[in-house]
């Protein structure tokens, strides 16, 4: 039972406060969506993977990194696939000519397949790559700081929402196990049904079982005092929180998409964050609960968070200072170099790999 022992020892270690890791991940994500240079993107991806490999503890979320990498690869393939299917012609040389599928006349200007241009194809792959880095970052942070721990660290006002989300998250692997068990049992009845009928044969027992389990769990949580500490009057605070989150999301999107209106986006983001913090503080006052062994915040957490902020800030400023080296890149401008500022982004993203784990919790 060496695996058990390993897990046992591993759960004694802590990789640090989950919110610090999420700050780092957010920083890397901002950098990935700002930078257009494919070389920097690939190196950023490697830095994120390095951190995850170095720091992830054993546990149920261990494999989130691999899941992220897989999903990232799928995204790049789908993105290039769409270009092959629907891509618009450009002035670059034609790589290969696929047979064109003519669409009815009312699809003006759109044809399926047809000529594949080098520039368009590379552009599509790079756009897919940026998205893939985002996805791998999310996978990496989940592998390093399990979502359960992250949600446990939410402020008290979001505690109930967080607990519910945690449980929903942990239901997914249980569903998979149940599906495997049911498939195995049904093979006992002879040739398993295929297609829709086979799907129903698996889904009905799995979902019925999941529903029973969910009701059991709800009853158990109720008996254990879940949601008991909440006093009335938090509806207004809840509404404020939702509005704040929406505003922050809209602002964040506006900023990252960088389609003009930067000032408005920044105001929205800042206002949203302020409102969210205020509502959180108000709501926390009406929730009476305590936390067992809250994650401590020490110097490694500060370093991790700073790394995230530095990566984001360097990318942000770098694109303005050196648009040719870091900004959007075109095939026509030749092989992209590795500007000095990019090294700053990469270093900031990779430093958390070399921090020590904390002994005990």
């Amino acid at each position: 039972m060496t695996t058990l022992a390993a897990e046992h020892n591993d759960s004694l270690r802590s990789t640090g406060h989950p919110l610090a890791w999420w700050a780092w991940a957010a920083g890397c994500a901002v950098a990935a969506s700002r930078v257009g240079n494919p070389v920097v993107l690939v190196l950023l991806l490697l830095a994120v993977v390095l951190v995850a490999l170095a720091r992830r503890p054993a546990g149920p979320w261990h494999r989130a990194l691999e899941a992220g990498l897989l999903l990232g690869a799928v995204v790049v393939l789908v993105r290039t696939g769409f270009y092959l299917l629907l891509g618009l012609p450009d002035s670059s040389p034609v790589l290969v000519t696929l047979p064109t599928i003519e669409l009815p006349a009312w699809f003006s200007n759109v044809s399926l397949l047809g000529e594949v241009h080098v520039a368009g194809l590379v552009q599509a792959a790079v756009a897919g790559l940026a998205l893939a880095v985002l996805i791998v970052t999310v996978g990496a942070v989940n592998a390093v700081a399990s979502p359960r721990r992250a949600l446990r660290s939410l402020p008290a006002s979001l505690h109930h929402l967080g607990s519910a989300a945690v449980i929903a998250v942990s239901a997914a692997p249980q569903l998979l196990t149940a599906a495997r068990r049911v498939r195995r049992a049904q093979r006992l009845r002879g040739q398993p049904a295929r297609g829709l009928r086979g799907l129903a044969a698996t889904l009905i027992p799995v979902l019925a079982g999941a529903l029973d389990q969910a009701l059991d769990l709800a009853a158990s949580m109720d008996s254990r005092g879940y949601a008991r500490a909440q006093r009335g009057g938090s509806r207004l605070v809840g509404a404020a929180l939702v509005i704040a989150l929406l505003a922050a999301a809209a602002g964040g999107y506006g900023l990252l998409a960088a389609t003009g209106a930067t000032t408005l986006s920044a105001v929205l983001l800042a206002g949203g964050v302020l409102l969210a913090v205020g509502a959180s503080v108000l709501a926390s006052r009406s929730v009476r609960r305590t936390r067992y062994r809250a994650e401590p915040w020490g110097w490694p957490e500060t370093v991790i968070t700073t790394c995230g902020v530095l990566a984001a800030a360097t990318a942000w400023v770098g694109v303005i200072l050196d648009p040719a080296g870091l900004g959007p890149w075109r095939l026509s401008t030749g092989w992209p170099g590795l500007p000095l500022l990019a090294l700053g982004i990469l270093a900031a993203a990779a430093v958390p790999a070399f921090l020590p784990d904390r002994e005990g919790r």
């Binding site: 046992h8 759960s11 359960r148 049992a185 049904q186 059991d216 254990r224 879940y226 067992y292």
Partner: protein, 518 residues
């Protein structure tokens, strides 16, 4: 501590009928009754889940330490009533033992220093200190159940409500959990309300028994001291039924009591004719050097086994000894790593959770789908033989455990199987349903089937098994006639055998037959 006055509960049909009982502080109260008699409903009423979570019509009143459950939701009683269910894994909300133990205290807003101290106390009380940082997913059944009990105890409830906490455990793990409960009652003065099928394990600890008897107007209750109530109750452990048969007064509840009263009976039975099991027929299933591995773990280690027609073979061994893996390999559903299985006919396996086999919306549809070509109605006929009166237009999930097992059996047997394998079939069955299952298996044996049953339930095996194969660590450690193997050990023998040793009788039915035969 708990006052129940004229409690009636009904959903579509009435469940409980004007039930009154008082449970004093520090008592262990056992709730018994056949499946569907409303045990869970009664426990739900005590934890305020009935009616707050279930709905339904409720009349009468339940008060816990003066708090009326009509005004208090389950969460308002969290500091007073702790609830533990059958499946601990279904109620876990975190992923490490320590966090799980702290969950309730966090909800109640217990200050952190106090939280730490209570947690240490509970770790010691339930012997969990070794497990404190273990992920919940890696715990064994008995450990998980102790963690579930610990998780409600940290809130220091004065009442603990447990709904069949040992039904999924092997005997050793069940002893563990029950010993922990007995300790809670004696040392901590916690009031415990416990529903349990396998009475023989718990009745010795009980101070009071509520016995539910189903009637068309809902179940009625008999409340009193264990010996009084069990003298008349429909369900009773084997020692008590032996006492009724022999006319002992007072009625024994434990093997110790019965053994002291049994001197006379032992001499009367001294030369009793031991019933013979019929001679087995030709070999129907054979395993040679069978080995099953999962990664680096060897589940079944070079097992040789021959199963003849007309025999019920019992596989025993603790959880994780390889019983299920061996059954799946014998059924041909799990490719063995080495060795081979030869079967002289179709092999049918009913897995541990028979509901996994069933996915159609009605019993009729399930039966129709299982009919062999050209024999429509065969499954339904078989089902009626196994369990008469199963309604046809009902979803299999809404059947009782016993009826669902019968349906799974019928579905698996209908295509003409000659070998039947059952994995823990008595889980969740009451005494009545177990007796019917025993009749069914004996009927199949007499019809020339080979039957293999993996089970922990010694009392059930005493009724059916002709041969016992005990597994430990994937290997066969014992293979012999059931009567010899079951009477070998003073600790794991069925209750009747322990009372009557050295007379080799295994069940109350055998004693009755031996007495009548004289």
């Amino acid at each position: 501590m708990i006052e129940i006055e004229n409690l009636s509960v009904g959903y579509d049909a009435p469940v409980l009928d004007r039930l009154s009982a008082t449970i004093d502080e520090g008592e262990l109260c056992l709730v018994i009754g056949p499946t569907g008699s409303g045990k869970s409903t009664l426990l739900g009423a005590i934890s305020a889940r009935v009616p707050h979570l279930t709905g339904g019509r409720v009349a009468g009143r339940v008060r816990i330490d003066g708090r009326d459950t009509r005004q208090h939701r389950p969460r308002d009683l969290a500091d007073l009533v702790g609830v533990v269910g059958q499946d601990p894994a279904a109620t876990f909300t975190t992923d490490v033992v320590e966090d799980e133990l702290a969950f309730t205290m966090e909800q109640l807003g217990v200050p952190e220093p106090l939280m730490r101290r209570r947690l240490e106390d509970v770790l010691d009380l339930l012997d969990l200190a070794e497990l404190r940082r273990r992920p919940l997913a890696t715990l064994s059944g008995g450990q998980a159940q102790r963690v579930a009990i610990g998780a409600v105890l940290t809130a220091q409830p004065r009442v603990l409500v447990l709904d069949e906490p040992t039904s999924a455990l092997d005997p050793a793990a069940a002893e563990d959990v029950l010993a922990a409960l007995a300790r809670l009652v004696h040392d901590a003065g916690v009031t415990v309300v416990l529903a349990e099928h396998r009475l023989e394990r718990v009745v010795g600890f009980a101070d009071r028994v509520i016995s539910l008897t189903p009637t068309p107007d809902g179940a009625t209750a008999a409340v009193g001291a264990p010996a009084e109530v069990l003298a008349r109750a429909a369900v009773a452990p084997p020692v008590t039924r032996l006492g009724r048969l022999a006319g002992w007064e007072p009625l024994p509840l434990t093997v110790r009591d019965a053994r002291r009263a049994a001197g006379d009976l032992r001499t009367r039975l001294g030369s009793a004719v031991v019933p013979r099991t019929p001679a087995p027929g030709e070999e129907l299933l054979r395993a040679d050097r069978l080995r099953v591995t999962y990664g680096s773990v060897v589940a079944v280690r070079d097992v040789d086994l021959s199963v003849p027609a007309g025999q019920i073979l019992a596989l025993t061994g603790r959880n994780g000894a390889g019983k299920s893996s061996l059954l799946w390999a014998l059924a041909g559903a799990l490719p063995p790593t080495a060795g081979r299985v030869r079967a002289g006919g179709r092999v049918a396996l009913v897995p541990q959770s028979p509901e996994d086999l069933l996915f159609r919306l009605t019993v009729v549809a399930e039966c129709a789908a299982a009919d062999p070509p050209g024999e429509s109605g065969a499954t339904r006929t078989l089902l009626d033989e196994l369990a008469p009166g199963v309604p046809g237009e009902v979803n299999p999930r809404d059947l009782s455990e016993g009826q669902r097992l019968a349906l799974a059996l019928a579905v698996q047997l209908a295509p003409g199987a000659t070998v039947l394998l059952l994995d823990e079939p008595t889980r969740g069955l009451d005494y009545g349903a177990k007796a019917r299952l025993a009749e069914v298996l004996i009927g199949l044996r007499d019809a020339g089937h080979a039957v293999v049953v993996a089970s922990h339930d010694v009392e059930f095996l005493a009724q059916v098994a002709g041969r016992i194969v005990q597994l430990a660590d994937g290997q066969v450690v014992t293979d012999g006639p059931a009567r010899t193997v079951l009477t070998d050990s003073a600790l794991t023998a069925p209750q009747v055998a322990r009372v009557l040793a050295p007379v080799p009788l295994l069940s109350v039915a055998e004693v009755a037959a031996a007495l009548a035969g004289r």
